[in-house]
Subunit: 492 residues, 2 copies
């Protein structure tokens, strides 16, 4: 995209136009966006000293400042190294009706590293395509601008900055490096742009030989992209094609398994101690860990979690209970709120219900249209894959009880004055839908039981059995993960 | 400030000036701000339909969009009701080098409520004066603009909006209400402006009879305020006068107290169960709770926390370990990061070290100049007072050991292969400063042992004694708080 770029070719239709006029046009479209369910992400990337700040200023100048935000991603703060790669970008994604401008972005690391190995490159591309695809599917326009200038212009710009005592500090090592190896970087940028020039989120290369022209081009592209998005008739996107479900993983399990009280008492505390030691070891080794607990109402998730954590240092983990999204949360992509709580290195987050709500309650209750929840299997697999690649251990427990058992537990709650506040009419309504939830859980396990993050099915009819199995499985997965982690370290 | 306001009086020096020129002047000052340690908060408040959006747009138009942010505070999302009052505002305060614009603000609730009772008013004023004073002390310029228009103009504006099919939706109930009771609101606004017209953060009333003139005035005030702040020679602010310390609370305690192993074993689990039940009760009653653990290195904070939480449902609390601030955190006021983690209703946050680091490690190690840490006693008292008024229970534990005991524990760690990673050279350096820490703790307790949030001193030389006392004290404080809370509810 860059190699045969013609710096002299000009869009003559724009050259006479005032930037403020183009800005006002964009602002008019922004007002429509504000009242829509869509949002827009505008990435401004490109060469060092190519005028990103200048273009950003012109892009935003006429906009209503209440509904856009600019995020700068060049300074690598120490916070970021502790988090999954996408964390800091996910935080700043636009909510409904908003425009987010990214000055540099999740592309920066790729762009700055000439020597990135293919395997790492591929993983990075995985992160990016996952994120952009999901945003687009969620009605977010992803507009990617790359500011391109010639070697000659770059040299002049850096010289000029050097002569300006007030702006000299703006030149960084990266500027000098890119200029010195201009043709190498040109090739490298070109490769990355080609690889990430997705249909739904293509790159727009803009000549920044003349900064005002660059702003004009950016404004015009932003307007036309936003306009055509807003004009799209609301055609329903197709439902992702899912191959027929061959298996019903939950049908195979034996819910009659049980242990005696003696067996339970004999094992519980030892296993709890072991779990505590392993979490401590993961903390020492800076391994972050995510545990997911899913299951129908009254399956015993809470009880299993508190048995698991009893002898774990409370400073090393958090429990995140996932309820229906708040008003603020529902302005964003459904995975956004989980990115806020993914653990830093060495810590553990335990999710009492999780992002799987997308394909369970949101599916069964019809909160989310089919084309979106059906796409979630793949989205979730990719997210988990990325997290595992970022070094996280993910252990997912599905606690299963049968309908009869749920009924019995609801009745017990009804009769227990300490617990009957826990039981609502909604619970009984959900009970009626037990088979629907079962179907959704079957498909969930079948489609998201991946090598990176397999499901562990817990037979839940007997609580003691379930609790012991959760502990044992956690211990064996954590042990294996730590050993692999140590093995990899020694290889290096 | 509003009653005798002369709408006809014009600043003739400005009337000829272009808004873009004034904007460029402000942008030039912004560039200086970006490289300084200061920050700026600009609040744009005023009547409904008085042109806040218009003025905000002109204020930001020429600015570098990477270094400012606009927050709109009119929609009351459900998230907010779950949090302390200042939470949502604290999140959006400006970091170093940044400008934050607030469209409406922590004044909105005051302004919109004609019938606010004096007691509530006073509390609100307490929140606000606390926040503004602290921001100013931390090099944040607080600029407060109030847009004022006449009844006649307001009426015309609302009529005009009604005639505009694209903007009619902008008229809210509040617009109509304010117009209908114009003179009542005038009186009410006037009272609030007078009461909050603080020396360090005064109000600027701007006529918005003509919107362009309003923008000119706002731009000019913003520039002159920012300019004079940046020009201020770096005079060292005075150290707050603290009355002589009469008492050394820690000198009085008897560190020889101890219990037998039998007593410990006999009590521990019962108390843990009780603690679990109380936290459950607080969760049911939606009472948020904050526990603070302070104490020198090796005082036994971690051990006390895990004994306390053992039988508490892990879903109902988080433990926040406070280390030195990250690079991002240190861009903000020292209390900012704690506002991020204050609990929602019904949850508990346990701080393993806390905001008291300001008057302990930051004081002793000289990380913070004296005039700032000395001001922190009062700031912290006010923050805690506000939180308690927001309905939080705050329990603060200071675990005290003597120097000899610390030395012994360090030596034990040195000899324990499982724990010696915990011991660093820095620990030994801190050990040398034991008396300094003791002095700082004495002053901390003397100055922040308030009725709202008293300190509980825990004799820590014997760990078993300390753990039992923490449990017992937590139980009695929580019990009393819940009972008071229930009593208040019944009064209503």
């Amino acid at each position: 995209m860059l190699k045969d770029f013609d710096f002299d070719k000009k869009d003559t239709t724009l050259s006479g136009t005032k930037r403020s006029e183009l800005g006002i046009e964009l602002a008019a479209l922004q007002r429509k966006l504000v009242n829509s369910d869509s949002s827009m992400l505008i990435i401004v990337d490109g060469w060092e000293s190519s005028g990103k700040g200048h273009v950003l200023k012109d892009l935003t100048k006429e906009l209503d400042p209440r509904y856009f935000e600019v995020s700068v991603f060049d300074d690598a703060l120490d916070d970021y190294a502790e988090r999954p790669f996408l964390w800091r970008f996910a935080r700043d994604l636009p909510g409904k009706g908003r425009i987010a401008f990214f000055d540099r972005s999740f592309y920066s690391e790729l762009m700055n590293d000439l020597k990135m190995k293919d395997e790492r490159l591929e993983h990075h591309l995985g992160y990016i395509s996952f994120l952009e695809r999901m945003l687009v599917a969620d009605n977010t326009i992803v507009l990617k601008l790359f500011l391109h200038h010639s070697e000659n212009t770059m040299e002049k710009r850096i010289e000029k900055l050097k002569d300006d005592p007030y702006r000299e500090f703006l030149i960084t090592k990266d500027d000098e490096k890119q200029l010195k190896k201009y043709s190498k970087y040109l090739k490298h940028f070109d490769k990355i742009l080609e690889m990430t020039n997705f249909d739904a989120s293509p790159w727009h290369v803009i000549s920044s030989e003349d900064l005002k022209d660059a702003s004009r081009a950016a404004l015009s592209i932003a307007s036309s992209t936003l306009k055509s998005h807003l004009e799209q008739t609301e055609k329903k996107p197709p439902v992702p094609i899912r191959s027929g479900l061959k298996e019903k993983p939950l049908a195979k399990i034996d819910l009659k398994v049980a242990i005696t009280e003696e067996e339970y008492e004999a094992q519980l505390e030892k296993l709890q101690e072991k779990a505590g030691e392993l979490v401590y070891e993961m903390w020492l080794k800076k391994i972050p860990c995510v545990l997911v607990f899913e299951g129908t109402d009254a399956a015993g998730k809470g009880g299993a979690i508190s048995r698991l954590t009893r002898l774990i240092d409370p400073r090393s983990y958090d429990v995140a209970t996932t309820a229906a999204p708040t008003e603020n949360e529902s302005r964003y992509n459904y995975l956004w709120r989980f990115y806020q709580t993914f653990p830093v290195k060495g810590k553990m987050t335990i999710y009492d219900r999780s992002w799987y709500g997308r394909v369970l309650v949101e599916r069964v209750e019809g909160f989310t249209p089919e084309h979106r929840w059906a796409a979630a299997y793949e989205e979730i697999n990719e997210m988990e894959h990325n997290l595992v690649h970022d070094g996280l251990l993910i252990v997912k427990f599905l606690i299963v009880i049968d309908k009869e058992e749920q009924k019995q537990r609801f009745k017990d709650r009804e009769n227990d004055p300490e617990k009957n506040y826990k039981l609502t009419d909604e619970d009984w309504r959900n009970h009626e839908k037990f088979e629907h939830y079962e179907e959704a859980m079957n498909e969930m396990v079948a489609r998201t039981d991946t090598k990176d993050a397999p499901w562990i099915i817990i037979e839940g009819n007997q609580k003691e059995y379930a609790r012991i199995k959760v502990l044992k499985e956690f211990i064996s997965r954590a042990r294996a993960f730590i050993d692999r982690h140590e093995g990899k370290k020694q290889e290096k």
